[in-house]
Assembly symmetry: C2
DNA sequence: CTCGTATATGACTTGACGGGCATATGAAGC
DNA sequence: GCTTCATATGCCCGTCAAGTCATATACGAG
């Protein structure tokens, strides 16, 4: 029920997400990397999972978590109407150019301009 | 002190921001448009202003508020590392309406239909 | 100056959320 | 079986933020 925005309002959760953005991690790895209590990590992961930000894979007794993009896409889309405030000039051009693929993409171009 | 993320966690504040994204508005206009109590609008605007999301101009007894982009840019930048999760396998369609153009859209010549 | 309009602020209440701690679940290995 | 490692959950508590109501400030009109 929580809006995606409320979920990422929590700094520790953002830290977890940023960590998972690089690659998937187990709970213990997150705990150690971010130096926060395990129970706290588990609770935040629970919230993140319920909200669809992450999903977990079971590896023996570990749970390995990874990003699920949908809720963040939602945030990204909400930002769309505001982008005109800062992409007034050059950027708009560029994005328009390299977004020019539609239903015809028989071969995903390996490198795309990935500016930001 | 509040992170920009905490600010936009509040639904009413997001509504205000979205309203201001279209054009600047006075407090009364926001109050009427969003059908929320004036004191609530004022308080949210205070929070938004303190956090740099909006600024106000004085027009007689009215205060006209408009967007300031910086904090939202910050959010946009935080999202950057995650974009690879959806820009990789998603074409221009899914991209959704990003930024079409500014306050002038004389020609509704949008290209293709949207999905959802 | 008084009144009405427009907006801001303060006090108070209420509810939600995160932290900490203890404990439960579960899988692995002996 | 029992023990250990890895993770999850339940409970309590303090804090903080949002809503409501009342009131204050500021400006314009007459």
């Amino acid at each position: 029920m929580e809006s995606s925005f409320a979920i990422i309002a929590e700094p520790n959760r953002r830290a977890i997400l940023s960590l998972l953005a690089a690659s998937e991690h187990s709970v213990g790895e997150i705990e150690h990397q971010l130096r926060m209590p395990q129970t706290s990590v588990s609770k935040h992961l629970r919230v993140l999972r319920d909200a669809g930000f992450v999903e977990s894979r079971i590896d023996a007794q570990r749970r390995v978590y990874r990003i699920r993009p949908e809720p963040l896409m939602e945030v990204d889309e909400w930002l769309a109407p505001f982008r005109r405030f800062w992409t007034a000039h050059v950027d708009a051009l560029e994005r328009h150019l390299d977004q020019m693929d539609s239903e015809s993409e028989p071969e995903p171009a390996s490198k795309k301009g990935k500016k930001r």
